[in-house]
C-alpha cells in the first residue's frame, strides 16, 4: 500500500511520542487522518471539478483514569508535535487508581480497500468527460426535464492509528455517483435521484440506460404525486427504506454511549424479544462494498460484524472505547469520528436486516391495500422513547397485489419501534446495501451504509 508521505514519518515517530505521553498518563493514542479525492459536478448549465473536502490532521488522546483528554491539530511536524504532546499531558490531572484502558492485543497491519477500478488510474479529464456524457443522456431523457444533475465523488481516506501495542494503517476508498432529475410540468416541479455508491472505485460511475429510464419514470411519477391519506397501511419497504428503519429506529438506540447517558430504552431489553422472529439485524464494518465499511475504528479496534438482533431477540449494543470502559463491557469497532477535530462516539458502520425467504413478487402479491415505500430521504433517532421518523421520498399504491399507478409524496412513517418491528411479516430474500451519511443528533456526520432486504410490515403513514 502506498502510504501518503505525511504519514510515513509519523508512523515511525508516533510510537516514541506515545511512550512520552504514557510517562504521565496510563493510556495514550494517536490518530492521523488524511483525506483526498475529487468531486465532479455537471448539470444543464454548470460544471464543477474540485478536490473533495481535503482533510489532514492528528488527534492525540490521553486517558487520565477518569476521563479522556484530547488535543487535535493540523500541525504534523514530528518535533513540534512531540513538544505539544508533552505540554498537553503535563497539564492533565491523573487518577492513578482510576479505570484502566486495555490497549488491545499487539497488532501491526496495513489495510486497503479492494476496488475494481482505482480512480487514480483514470485521468481526471477522462472522468470529467464521462460525466458530461452521462449528464447529456440524462438531460435528453424527456422534454419535461428542467435540469439534470450529476455528481461523482471519489475519496480516499488514509488513517494511521498508534498506541503502545498497535500500529495500524488503512486506506479506505469511497465512491458515490448521484444522478438527479428535476422535472417540471404545468407549474409543478419535482425531482427524484439515484445513487450508486460504496467502498468502491470508479466502477460506480458506469450508468446503464435502464437506470436512467427508471429514474425518468420515478421523477415523472413524483411530479404527479398526491398526498397520502393518513392512516395505518400494509407497507413494503425498498432496501433503502428498510435500512433507514434499521439505522434510525433501532441502530442509534443500541449505541453504548446512549446506555451510559441513560438515553437508551434498549438497555432494558437486552435478551428480550423486540422484533418479529423473522428479524435479524447486524452492524458490519466489513460488509463488502458497504459505504460505511472500514478495517479498524478511530480508536484502533479491528473491525468485525456484530449481531444486534438475532431472530427477534436483542443481543448487544455497539461500543466506543470510553463507553465500554465506563460500562465495563467488551468494545466493538464502533468508535468513529467525523474528523480528527471531533471526538469519537459509538457509531454504526453498515447496519442492516439480514435477508429472509420471500421474493419481492410474493411480498407485493400478498398486499391487499398498501404502499411500496421508496427512497428514505431523512430520518431521526429517538433512542429513549423509541419513536420512529423515517421520511420516504414517495410511495406507490398497491391494491390486491398490483401497483395501481398512484404515487404519494412525501410519505412519513411514524410509530413505536417495537410495534413496527414486531409487525414484520415477510422478509425479502435479497440484500442491497445503500450508502449515506449518519449524524449523531444534529451533527457528527460520518459515512454509513444501510439497506437490507425488502420488508413487509404495518405502519402509520402520513
Amino acid at each position: 500500500m502506498d502510504i501518503p508521505p505525511e504519514l510515513v514519518e509519523l508512523r515511525d515517530t508516533l510510537p516514541l511520542l506515545i511512550q512520552d505521553m504514557e510517562q504521565h498518563v496510563p493510556y495514550a493514542a494517536a490518530l492521523v487522518q488524511r483525506q483526498e479525492g475529487h468531486t465532479i459536478g455537471v448539470d444543464n448549465r454548470e460544471q464543477q471539478v474540485e478536490p473533495a473536502d481535503p482533510r489532514l490532521g492528528i488527534v492525540l488522546s490521553a486517558w487520565t483514569g477518569h476521563h479522556m483528554a484530547e488535543l487535535a491539530t493540523s500541525e504534523l511536524d514530528p518535533g513540534r508535535l512531540r513538544s505539544m504532546a508533552r505540554d498537553f499531558v503535563a497539564g492533565l490531572s491523573v487518577d492513578p487508581d482510576g479505570l484502566p484502558v486495555d490497549p488491545g492485543e499487539p497488532l501491526e497491519q496495513e489495510y486497503a480497500t479492494a476496488v475494481e477500478v482505482d480512480p487514480a488510474s483514470v485521468p481526471l479529464q477522462e472522468r470529467f468527460e464521462h460525466c458530461v456524457e452521462v449528464q447529456s443522456r440524462m438531460a435528453a431523457l424527456d422534454p419535461r426535464v428542467a435540469n439534470a444533475r450529476l455528481g461523482l465523488r471519489n475519496e480516499a481516506e488514509t488513517k494511521l492509528f498508534v498506541n503502545r501495542s498497535r500500529r495500524l494503517v488503512q486506506r479506505v476508498q469511497r465512491a458515490r455517483m448521484m444522478l438527479m432529475l428535476l422535472v417540471s410540468e404545468d407549474g409543478r416541479t419535482a425531482y427524484d435521484w439515484k445513487m450508486q455508491d460504496g467502498t468502491k472505485g470508479y466502477e460506480v460511475a458506469q450508468v446503464s440506460d435502464e437506470t436512467l429510464a427508471a429514474l425518468r419514470e420515478s421523477a415523472l411519477g413524483v411530479l404527479k404525486a398526491e398526498r397520502i391519506e393518513p392512516g395505518v397501511y400494509e407497507c413494503i419497504s425498498c432496501p433503502g427504506v428498510s435500512g433507514f428503519i434499521a439505522h434510525e429506529a433501532f441502530g442509534h438506540g443500541v449505541e453504548l454511549d446512549m446506555f451510559l447517558k441513560g438515553r437508551a430504552r434498549a438497555k432494558d431489553y437486552i435478551g428480550q424479544q423486540v422484533a418479529s422472529p423473522l428479524v435479524s439485524m447486524v452492524d458490519n464494518p466489513l460488509a463488502e462494498g458497504g459505504y460505511g465499511s472500514f478495517f479498524f475504528d478511530d480508536e484502533g479496534e479491528p473491525a468485525r460484524p456484530i449481531t444486534i438482533i438475532r431472530d427477534g431477540i436483542l443481543e448487544r449494543g455497539l461500543g466506543d472505547l470510553t463507553s465500554s470502559v465506563y460500562l465495563n463491557v467488551p468494545r466493538t469497532a464502533s468508535g468513529r469520528r467525523e474528523s480528527f477535530a471531533r471526538k469519537p462516539y459509538a457509531r454504526m458502520s453498515n447496519t442492516y436486516f439480514l435477508p429472509g425467504q420471500n421474493t419481492i413478487e410474493e411480498m407485493v402479491g400478498s398486499v391487499e391495500r398498501g404502499i411500496y415505500l421508496e427512497h428514505g430521504s431523512s430520518g431521526m433517532e429517538d433512542p429513549k422513547d423509541w419513536g420512529i421518523q423515517v421520511i420516504c421520498h414517495y410511495g406507490r399504491e398497491i391494491i390486491d397485489g398490483q401497483y395501481t399507478g398512484r404515487v404519494f409524496a412525501p410519505v412519513g412513517i411514524t410509530g413505536f419501534v417495537p410495534d413496527l418491528l414486531k409487525s414484520i411479516s415477510m422478509v425479502g430474500n435479497s440484500l442491497d446495501l445503500v450508502g449515506g451519511y449518519c449524524g449523531k443528533g444534529y451533527k457528527e456526520i460520518v459515512p454509513s451504509g444501510t439497506g437490507g432486504p425488502h420488508l413487509k410490515f404495518q405502519a402509520r403513514l402520513g
Binding site: 493540523s74 511536524d77 435540469n147 407549474g187 447517558k261 421520511i391
Partner: protein
C-alpha cells in the same frame, strides 16, 4: 503564509482571478455524562482555502470560466503550493461555465460577531456554562441531566482576492447540546436541545433549562395526537426548518438551476388565496451576533440587510456575484439571518381559539426544497381545545410550506434564535396531523 500563496497566484499566467481565505481556528470542547467530565478537548487548526479561476475558449469558441479550489496547510512549502496550484489550474481548465467576475473592495460594515470574553477566557466560559447548566437542572423537579456537549470556537480569518479585497474578521461560535431526562417514578422521557450562538450569554441557560425541563416533564404524559386537520401553531425551534425552505426558494442559484419558480415582483404564493397576514422576510447580515452576520460573505461581498419578500411579493432574489451576473441582478451577498417582523397577535391569543395543535419540537423537519411539501414527526406538542391542553408526541405533521404560509398569523412576541429573529410563533390556518 498568505503572502507566499499570493505571490504564486499572481505569477501564474493561467490564473485569471483568485481568492484566498486563511483561517486560524481555536476550539475548546467539554463533554459531560451526567455531571461528570467524559471528555475534554482542545482543537487548533490553520488552513488556507484557495480558489482560482481560469478563463479559456470552449469548443464552440466562446470564452468560458473554470474554477477549482484547494487547501494549504502551514507545512506546505513553495513546491507544494506550486503543485497544488498547477493541479487546480488543470481542473479549472476542464470546466466551462458562463463568465462571471469577482467582487472588488467595498466599505465593509462593522458587525458584532465576536464574543470578547469567549475569545479571552474560553476555558472559564466553558466551565461557567456547564456550571449554570448543572445548577439550573438541579433546580428542576423530576428532571436530570443526561449529558451535555459544549463547543467554543474562535476564528481569525483573512480574506484576499485578485480584485483587491483585503479584509480580516475575528468571530466566535458557541454550540451547546444537552439532553434532559424526566422521570415520574414510572416512566422516563427526554428532551434533546441543540443550539448555536455567537455569544455564550445568548444561551440564557437558566431560562432555557426551565423551559425545556417543563417540556421534558410534559413529554412524560404525552400521547399520540388524534388525526387533525385545521389550525397548527409552530413555535421557536420548530419554525426554523420552514425558513430554510424560503431561503432556498428565494435564491438566484435556485432560480438559475430551475429549482425555484418564484418571480420577482409577483406573489410568492402564486394563485393561492392568501387568508393570513402578509409574509415579510429580510436577509439581514448585520444583525448583532447573528450566526449568519459578518462584514463580508465568503465571496467578499459586504454584509447587508435587504428585503427579500415584502407583503407576499418577492422583491428580489438574494444572489452572490456569480448568480447575480448570470441572471442580471444586483448582488446581495449570501443570505444573512432570517428576520421577520412580529405580528399584532399575542401568543396567548394564537393559542386560544382551538381546536389546534401547538408543536414545540419536531424530530427533524426539512421541507422539500422544490415543492415545499413537508412531513415531520412531532417530538412534542400540545393539543389545545378550549381550556384543555394535552401534551402530544408521535404522529406526523403533513403540509405544504406555500399553502401553510398563505394562511399564517404571526405572534407579537419575538425571539432571537441565532440565525432567526422574528415571531416566536406562527399560527397556520390549515395543516394536517396524522395521529392515532
Amino acid at each position: 503564509m498568505l503572502e507566499r500563496i499570493i505571490r504564486q497566484l499572481e505569477s501564474h499566467s493561467s490564473v485569471h482571478d483568485w481568492q484566498v481565505e486563511l483561517n486560524h481556528k481555536r476550539g475548546h470542547q467539554l463533554f459531560l455524562v451526567g455531571e461528570r467530565v467524559e471528555t475534554e478537548r482542545t482543537v487548533e487548526t490553520v488552513r488556507a482555502e484557495v480558489r482560482i479561476f481560469n478563463d479559456h475558449a470552449a469548443p464552440g469558441g466562446q470564452t468560458v470560466r473554470g474554477e477549482a479550489s484547494f487547501v494549504l496547510l502551514p507545512q506546505d512549502g513553495d513546491s507544494a503550493i506550486a503543485q497544488k496550484l498547477q493541479d487546480a489550474v488543470f481542473m479549472a481548465g476542464l470546466v466551462g461555465n458562463p463568465l462571471f467576475s469577482l467582487p472588488g473592495p467595498a466599505d465593509y460594515p462593522q458587525v458584532e460577531v465576536l464574543d470578547q470574553r469567549l475569545a479571552q477566557e474560553p476555558r472559564v466560559v466553558l466551565d461557567e456554562l456547564s456550571e449554570q447548566l448543572i445548577a439550573a437542572v438541579n433546580r428542576e423537579p423530576q428532571v436530570r441531566l443526561s449529558s451535555s456537549e459544549c463547543f467554543l470556537d474562535v476564528g481569525d480569518s483573512q480574506f484576499r482576492n485578485s480584485r483587491g479585497i483585503e479584509a480580516a474578521v475575528q468571530s466566535s461560535r458557541a454550540m451547546f447540546d444537552f439532553v434532559l431526562i424526566s422521570n415520574d417514578g414510572k416512566n422516563e422521557s427526554e428532551m434533546h436541545i441543540a443550539q448555536e450562538r455567537r455569544r455564550a450569554a445568548d444561551f440564557d441557560v437558566p431560562a432555557l433549562v426551565q423551559r425545556k425541563a417543563a417540556q421534558a416533564r410534559d413529554a412524560l404524559r404525552a400521547m399520540l395526537p388524534a388525526n387533525h386537520k385545521g389550525a397548527v401553531v409552530l413555535s421557536r425551534e420548530a419554525l426554523l426548518g420552514m425558513w430554510t425552505f424560503w431561503r432556498t426558494q428565494t435564491s438566484a442559484q435556485s432560480k438559475f438551476q430551475k429549482l425555484s419558480q418564484l418571480e420577482v415582483g409577483k406573489s410568492v404564493f402564486g394563485e393561492r388565496e392568501v387568508t393570513g397576514e402578509p409574509l415579510n422576510l429580510r436577509s439581514n447580515g448585520l444583525l448583532p451576533f447573528g450566526l449568519r452576520s459578518g462584514p463580508l460573505d465568503a465571496e467578499g461581498l459586504p454584509g447587508r440587510d435587504v428585503d427579500i419578500v415584502a407583503g407576499n411579493v418577492l422583491r428580489r432574489l438574494w444572489a452572490g456575484q456569480r448568480y447575480a451576473e448570470y441572471l442580471g441582478l444586483e448582488p446581495t451577498g449570501a443570505f444573512g439571518n432570517v428576520v421577520v417582523p412580529p405580528g399584532d397577535t399575542p401568543l396567548a391569543e394564537l393559542l386560544a381559539a382551538g381546536p389546534l395543535i401547538h408543536i414545540v419540537a419536531f424530530s427533524d423537519m426539512h421541507p422539500n426544497p422544490a415543492t415545499g411539501d413537508v412531513v415531520a414527526e412531532i417530538r412534542l406538542g400540545y393539543a389545545i381545545d378550549g381550556n384543555a391542553v394535552t401534551p402530544v408526541k408521535g404522529g406526523a405533521l403533513s403540509t405544504n410550506a406555500f399553502d401553510a404560509f398563505a394562511g399564517a398569523i404571526y405572534s407579537l412576541e419575538s425571539v432571537f434564535l441565532g440565525e432567526y429573529q422574528g415571531p416566536e410563533a406562527i399560527r397556520f390556518a390549515e395543516m394536517a396531523v396524522a395521529g392515532g
